[in-house]
Structures are given as structure tokens and as C-alpha cells.
């Protein structure tokens, strides 16, 4: 029991619960979930559904960060993929044709992979520092997205496409199912195979890993491709949710939230050990924080301060050094 607070996900979990509970003061029906038009409806569902793009992006980011990299371009990838998919769908003679939408979605996902590959090659093959390598796509990608949309917001009126981000299957939001599936896939791939171990090794010591025969270059490319994939799927969900693609604003600044989620989840930016569960928790936590800000009616001008306070408090609570220094929890280590 005493060990519980030492678990690295203990404090984020506490923060999540606190935030959720605090909402009740502003919205008495916060925890109520009812069935409406044949699907679940309630604030908790909103949070889950609303957090899916961030969960996905944070998932890809986790892998990238585990290799001691960083991917700043995720927001732009979201914009590009969303724009591309919407353009394809809007060009369909029948926007409601499931086949046409599926093809558009598949192409868009491939585009996400390609963008990830671009980053991966710049980092692993050309050898550019990740932050700068992905900065190129961050800057240029949004231009590409706007090029695709011609600076306009592309609207689609396609029910199959709308289903991805705003639809429900078996009363559950489709977006949540997709995100859960990708997360599960990532867990299986990293923990049931040796991928996770090799990534962690490359992240904590690239030289030692190379000399142990790990093909760091290939792995690095793979994680960036995966990040591109995650951002691409997030882009689909994002644009489908509002049935339109906004090249300029889609996914703007999401990279910061994603990195924040990863760090809150216990993965260090210096690479090495990573925790997928932690990142998911972190992403949901951030979304909950946003929703809490709306629900509690925190005025726009103090929103940032509010966020700052929560982030600092959470990081300090998580920091063993802080607890040791401030609460003098010294000794008592004899296990």
C-alpha cells in the first residue's frame, strides 16, 4: 500500500480523478451517462471521444520520444491528412458511397505513413537533429495542407466519413474504438515482440545499441513512420468530427499537448523507457483539463495560468526529488 504513491502513474491518476470530481460542482449531471438516439451520451463520453486525436498523437510521440527523438510535425500531419481525405471524399460523385470513402481513407493513411517516412529519413538517414528535422514539416506541412484546401475549409457531407469521428458503433463512439484498437496494436507490437526493448535500448544508449547489433537506423525510421500513421489517423478523426478540413487550424499546437501527455505518463524526453498506458492516461488527463476549463467557466484570460498551475502541481507531485526535499520523506527505505 505504501508503495502505491511511488508508482509513476499514481499522481496522474489522482489528478484525473480530482479533475473529474471537481466538474460536479459546475455541472451536476457530469457523471450521468444516458442513451440518446441509440448511443451513449454524457460528459465522460465527450472526454473519451474528444481525447482520441490526442491519445493517438501521444501514442506515436511516445515511441519517437523513447528513441530520444521528438516529432513536432504531428499537427501539420493532422492537417495534411485531414485535408487530403476531405478533398478526396468531396470529389466523390457520391459522397455517401462507403467504398469511395474507404479508398479515400486508405490513401490518406498511406499519406500519413509517407510523411512519417519523410521525418524518419531526415532523422535517421540524413542525420538531422529530430527537433529541426520535424520542424521543417511543421512549418511546411501546414502550407501543404492549405495548398490542398486552397486556403478554404473543405466541407464534406458524407455519412460514412462522418462516422469515423462523430459516429457510433454499438453505442460507443467509433473514434474511441479506433483509438483503442491502435493503442492495443501498439501494446502488442512493442510488448509481445522485442520491438519495445530494442526501442528502449536505442533511446537510452544509441552507441551501445549499435554495438549490440541493433539496427538503430531502421528502428528510428519505423517509429517516425508510426508517429506519422498515428497523426494521420488522428487527422481523419479530427476532420471527420467536424465534417470539414481546416488546413490552417487543424491540430495546431497539438504537439505540445502530446509531449506533455507523454511526459506526464512517465516517459522521459531523454529517451529510453516508455509507457504507453502512461501516455494514454496523460492524454485523457489533458483533455479532461480542457473540458474542466470549459465546464467551470474559467475565463479565457486565466485559462493558461490555470493550466500552468495544474501542470506544475502534477510534475512536482510526480517528482521524487520534490517529495524528498519538501516533505523530508527521508530514509524509511529499509525494505
Amino acid at each position: 500500500m505504501k508503495q502505491l504513491p511511488k508508482h509513476r502513474l499514481f499522481w496522474p491518476a489522482v489528478a484525473l480523478v480530482l479533475l473529474l470530481v471537481s466538474n460536479v460542482f459546475f455541472s451536476s449531471s457530469f457523471f450521468s451517462i444516458r442513451l440518446q438516439d441509440g448511443h451513449l451520451y454524457g460528459s465522460l463520453i465527450d472526454i473519451l471521444r474528444g481525447s482520441t486525436p490526442l491519445v493517438l498523437v501521444a501514442l506515436g510521440m511516445t515511441m519517437v520520444i523513447a528513441t530520444a527523438g521528438i516529432d513536432l510535425s504531428v499537427g501539420s500531419v493532422i492537417a495534411i491528412v485531414g485535408a487530403f481525405a476531405c478533398l478526396q471524399v468531396s470529389d466523390l460523385s457520391d459522397q455517401n458511397s462507403v467504398g469511395g470513402v474507404l479508398i479515400a481513407v486508405a490513401l490518406a493513411v498511406v499519406l500519413g505513413l509517407v510523411l512519417g517516412l519523410w521525418n524518419g529519413v531526415l532523422v535517421a538517414v540524413v542525420g538531422i537533429q529530430p527537433i529541426i528535422a520535424t520542424l521543417i514539416l511543421l512549418v511546411g506541412g501546414r502550407g501543404v495542407a492549405q495548398l490542398i484546401t486552397d486556403g478554404q475549409i473543405i466541407n464534406v457531407r458524407s455519412d460514412p466519413y462522418r462516422t469515423i469521428g462523430a459516429g457510433y458503433a454499438l453505442t460507443i463512439p467509433v473514434a474511441v474504438i479506433i483509438a483503442a484498437a491502435v493503442v492495443a496494436l501498439a501494446v502488442v507490437f512493442t510488448r509481445r515482440t522485442a520491438l519495445g526493448l530494442l526501442i528502449e535500448s536505442v533511446g537510452s544508449s544509441p552507441t551501445a545499441s549499435r554495438l549490440a547489433g541493433i539496427q538503430a537506423r531502421r528502428l528510428t525510421v519505423i517509429v517516425y513512420v508510426f508517429s506519422g500513421f498515428c497523426a494521420g489517423v488522428a487527422g481523419l478523426i479530427y476532420s471527420s468530427n467536424i465534417s470539414s478540413a481546416d488546413g490552417n487550424n487543424a491540430g495546431n499546437l497539438i504537439e505540445l499537448d502530446a509531449i506533455l501527455a507523454v511526459v506526464i505518463g512517465g516517459t522521459a524526453l531523454t529517451g529510453g523507457r516508455f509507457s504507453i498506458a502512461g501516455s494514454v492516461l496523460g492524454a485523457v488527463l489533458i483533455q479532461t483539463l480542457n473540458i474542466t476549463i470549459y465546464t467551470a467557466g474559467v475565463p479565457g484570460r486565466v485559462t493558461l495560468l490555470f493550466k500552468a498551475v495544474v501542470v506544475v502541481a502534477l510534475c512536482l507531485a510526480q517528482s521524487p526529488a520534490f517529495r524528498a526535499k519538501v516533505f523530508r520523506q527521508k530514509a524509511a527505505v529499509t525494505a
Binding site: 528535422a133 511526459v263 486565466v302 493558461l304 495560468l305
Partner: protein, 336 residues
Amino acid sequence: MTSVTTPPAVERPRVARARRYGVSSRFVPVLATLVLFCVMYGIGIANYNGFSDTQILLNIFIDNAHLLTVAVGMTFVILSGGIDLSVGAVLALGTVLAASLLQAGWPAVPVIVVVLASGALIGLAQGAIIHFFEIQPFIATLAGLFTARGLAQLISTKAIPITNDFWTTDATERIHFAGFRLSPSAVLALVIALIAGLALAYTRFGRNVYAIGGNRQSAALMGLPVARTRVLVYTLSGLCAALGGVLYSFETPTGNSLTGQGMELDAIAAVVIGGTLLTGGSGFLAGTVLGVLVLGLIQTMITFQGTLSSWWTRIFIAGLLFLFIVLQRVATRRER
């Protein structure tokens, strides 16, 4: 058991002299940046009317005095192996604070002092949190970003115009020489860069920054004042950002909580383009100055181009950045 082997009587060869990278190897990235900058400048001259005017070059300094100042602070942070995301927000806070104090009727000097002090204070707080509570710099300074911008918005969400005489006259008076113009801010920024460069090369503090960036544990075991240096580095960055805010408000006499969004990335990009490694411990301030010049040059070329739509502007910037970085990388590449 025999005692330890003694060397034979023959003259023992000395330890082989190590292969050297050559003195200049450390300067290769900076030199590459310089050469590429010149090439790019040449391309500009060849393609655009009026580009060869030296004033264009000076304008880059005038336009980017604040960015240069911010990037100087960032150089210290990155050299020490950290990162500071809060600079853009601190700069914005600086402008808002200055504007609101001036609006309240404060005279110029105390306002500048207060602004600089508050920037330094934010930096100090970040440094302390990062070092003593072992919070990752990225996150601590992200929280710093939220805080600084939040404070700026708390002071005023509306832009506050600055009408103070010092701001509108003295500080913005152009310095004329040989037919060219330079702003006092630009001169100040260059002086600061020079001082910072010298401090990095010729003071203990500067060398400690490099050592800590190279290997923090080792630096601590070597008995270097790691805590003091790290905290100071962030304090300095906060100070530079606030000063950047003051310089910025000279050029655009207004306090606006939305200024400087994304400036942290510009500053980081400038530092890294200048050949400094983000992992810390390697790089020069001269590189940072070059990095700022490169970014400014890209911007200038775009305005000269003048036919780019909004999105092509972005793609063009990214393209130039890409070309530049890849060429720089190829130029400095060493085989394993």
C-alpha cells in the same frame, strides 16, 4: 608472485599521439553555416532587384534584434543541455508589463528594470524547479510558457499602446553611418551577443555551461557548481527574453499578450542552424548570430519574392530551411 613488470631498458616509445580532428573541426558547422549563408545571399542578389543594397542586410538585424537577444539566452540553455520554451511568452509578458506600467505613468528606467527583473525571476524559478526538483526542462519551461503568457493575458487581453517619449523617440532613433541605418536595439543586441560569446569562451561560468552540457554527472563529479550554473543559465535566458521584449516594444511600441507566439521555435532553430547540438555541450555563439541571419534572410527573400500565396510562403520557408539544413549536414558529415 612476481612484482609488477618493469619496462625493459630500451627507450620506450611515448604514447602514440592521438589522431586529431584538426583544430577547425569544431568550427566546421559554423563555417558551413557561414558559407551557405553567403551562397544564399548571393542567390538573393542574383534574383531580386535591390537585394544587393547593404541596408537589406542591416534590416535583418533591425528586424531581428529581439530574436537575436532571445537566441543568445537560448544558446546558453541549449549548450547546457536544456531547452527553454518560455522565451516567446516571457517576451510577450515583457511587452505587456512595460506597456501597462508606462500607461500607469511610470518613467522609462524603472519600467525597464522591472521588466528585466521579472523575466529573470521567471527564468530563475524555472531553473530552480528544473534543477532542484528534477523536472524535465521541456516541461518546466512549457509550464513557464503557460504562466508567462497567462500573466500577460491577466494584465491585459487588449493590446496596450506605448506613448512614452523614450520609447517613441530615443530608443527608436536610427543610428546613421556611411549612408546606412541601424537601430539602437540592433546595436544593443549585437553587443550583447558579443559579450555573451566572450563570456562563453573566456569565463568559468561559460566553460561550466559547456561542461554541464557535455555530461552533467561528470561535471558534478568534477566538482563544478552544477546547481548554480544551471539555475543561472535559465535566469539568463529569462533575462534575455525580457530584454527581447523591451527591444521588441521599442520597434513596435505596444504591449500585446499574443506577441512572440512560436518564437521559441525560431530561437531554437536559429541556435541549431548555427551548428549547436541540442544535446548540449557543443556550439558557438557566433553560430547563433548566423542562425538568426539565415532565418532573417529567408524571410527577406520571401518578401522580395512577393508573389507567394500564404501557403506557398510556408512551403517556401520550409523548403529553404530544408535545403539549408541538409546542405549543412552534408558539409559537416563525418563518416563512422
